[in-house]
């Protein structure tokens, strides 16, 4: 059996070399891989740098104490440089440890990552099966050779070898429930917006929004867990915290299939389950009846991606929603007593100073009408790799002001067009900040 240390780096632009912590979401991908490895008898530990001390000495004390033979690092676009520096530091101190990279950025740029001299293997896409098969090749009676492991990239005599890519996992129910006990005590409660426990019920998104990389990362085929299993998991998570924490369904869009959501609600009613939960949704999948049914069954917060206050822009970014519908769904949700979390972005390729003004006005209007029950989140449009807008940025007239991935944090303007520049976006953000701050404070 192998000893494996999985390290979840910062999501943000913070660095493992500096002391500090951030509050963000559970590293569910890392935890899912860790759970799968434990199921197969391997000894696994997880170091989540978002909460555990990130001091270099702490990381290396952990490595020294646990003595893993394999260390897995997950990387997002904004932290890839930091992750590669960590890989280097690990290899310098522990040259015999195998370093495996995975995660969203690695999936999009596997060749760039494997070419790094301090990286031994790269896992592309969903990591549960490939990581397990990889570490089993280090066992005496390995069922597969390195060349047989799908979605794996590695070096052989300094040449890059890319194995075939595995299909996306079709049945998400064949894994044990993600084990949160790998996290340190503080991390077991997620305090991103309020104390919450995360549950994932699907992978992928049927949407075609040009700013989102879900299609490239999780497949455009939307895959769901059986809703009975989801309900049971939520019952257990609720028991784990004596019903005191909100359960946050972390899917890109929980409400894609209305019938599935209604089945979930029926189980809550049938068993009299007392729990509070929240989810992310799209306005085009909501009805007034569904919103009220969700509220009656403990839903306390729904996040809707609105993205712009201009219909022209919504059409241009293939959001496939109408502002009329947005206003309706916001009203229904407010009337149902559910807290609204509305997210917007400034600086779409088709934005102009006028459409940015429309978005600012829309935000002010929503705040004036529903401010006491609304959490408004505004970020800068960021062309992440894997998105349509990144791949087609020249055609769209979108210019990156910097090629630095570590600036892609959503909190820094990184693109401009002939119609707006960095300063315009910063000024627009200053204008909406009083509403985003005020609305957040209202919920605390």
């Amino acid at each position: 059996m192998q000893k494996v240390l999985l390290i979840a780096n910062y999501f943000s632009d913070q660095d493992w070399e500096k002391e500090g912590t951030s509050k963000y979401l559970y590293p569910l991908g890392v935890l899912s891989i860790a759970t799968n490895l434990r199921q197969h008898g391997h000894e696994v530990e997880v170091l989540d740098l978002n909460v555990d001390s990130t001091l270099k000495s702490h990381i290396f004390a952990k490595i020294c104490g646990f003595e893993p033979s394999i260390i897995g690092l997950s990387a997002y676009t904004e932290n890839i440089d930091s992750v590669l520096r960590l890989a280097k530091a690990i290899k310098k101190q522990n040259p015999n440890v195998m370093v495996v990279l995975g995660g969203p950025h690695v999936t999009l740029f596997p060749e760039d990552c494997i070419k790094n001299r301090y990286v031994d293997y790269v896992v592309v896409g969903e990591g549960e099966n490939a990581f397990l098969e990889l570490i089993e090749t280090f066992e005496d009676e390995a069922p597969l050779g390195i060349g047989d492991i799908k979605s794996l990239m590695y070096k052989d005599s300094n040449k890059v070898v890319a194995n075939d890519i595995a299909e996306f996992i079709s049945c998400l129910d064949l894994f044990p429930l993600i084990e949160y006990s790998f996290l340190s005590g503080a991390r077991k409660i997620n305090e991103f917006r309020f104390p919450m426990v995360n549950v994932s019920t699907s992978r992928g998104c049927p949407g075609k929004c040009i700013y989102c990389s879900a299609g490239a990362l999780s497949g455009s085929r939307y895959r769901v867990r059986e809703i009975e299993n989801v309900f049971l998991e939520m019952v257990v998570r609720n028991l784990d915290y004596d019903g005191s924490k909100c359960i946050y369904i972390i899917d890109d869009t929980f409400t894609v299939f209305g019938k599935r959501v209604y089945s979930f609600l029926r189980y809550i009613e049938e068993f009299g389950t007392k729990m509070t939960w929240a989810c992310e949704s799209r306005v085009d999948s909501m009805t007034e009846e569904l919103v009220h049914a969700m509220a009656d069954c403990g839903c306390v917060d729904i996040q809707y991606g609105i993205e712009s206050g201009s219909q022209e822009v919504l059409d241009g970014i293939r959001k496939n929603i109408s502002l009329e519908r947005v206003r309706e769904v916001i009203r229904w949700t407010y009337e149902a007593g559910i807290i609204l979390t509305l997210s917007f972005m400034l600086g779409h390729y088709c934005d102009t100073k006028e459409t940015i003004r429309d978005t600012i006005d829309f935000i002010k209007d929503v705040y004036d009408s529903y401010g006491n029950k609304t959490n408004i989140v505004v970020s800068f449009n960021t062309p992440f790799p894997g998105t349509y807008q990144y791949e087609n940025r020249d055609k769209l007239g979108l210019r990156l002001v910097s090629e630095r991935f570590d600036l892609m944090t959503l909190g820094i303007p990184v693109c401009e067009t002939n119609c707006f520049n960095e300063a315009d976006l910063r000024n627009a953000m200053l204008e909406v900040e009083p509403f985003t701050e005020a609305s957040s404070e209202g919920l605390n």
Partner: protein, 76 residues
Amino acid sequence: MIKRVVVRTLHGLSYVGEFIRVDEEKLVLRPSKKSEILFILNIESIDFVVLANGRTIKCEFGKDICEAISLLEEIG
């Protein structure tokens, strides 16, 4: 419903699925309606079972597993 349960093992893993049967000291769960793959768990390794109504039955080392199953029949 759904004769579904969550089974927590002493190894610190939780499995969710439809209860199929107990035989030869093994608890058999089907994780998905369409799945031909089954979870087969040693009864000795079960810590507790959680039913859909939130009832938790401590079954450490296989003890009281029958109680858990009979309750499941009732709510099923």
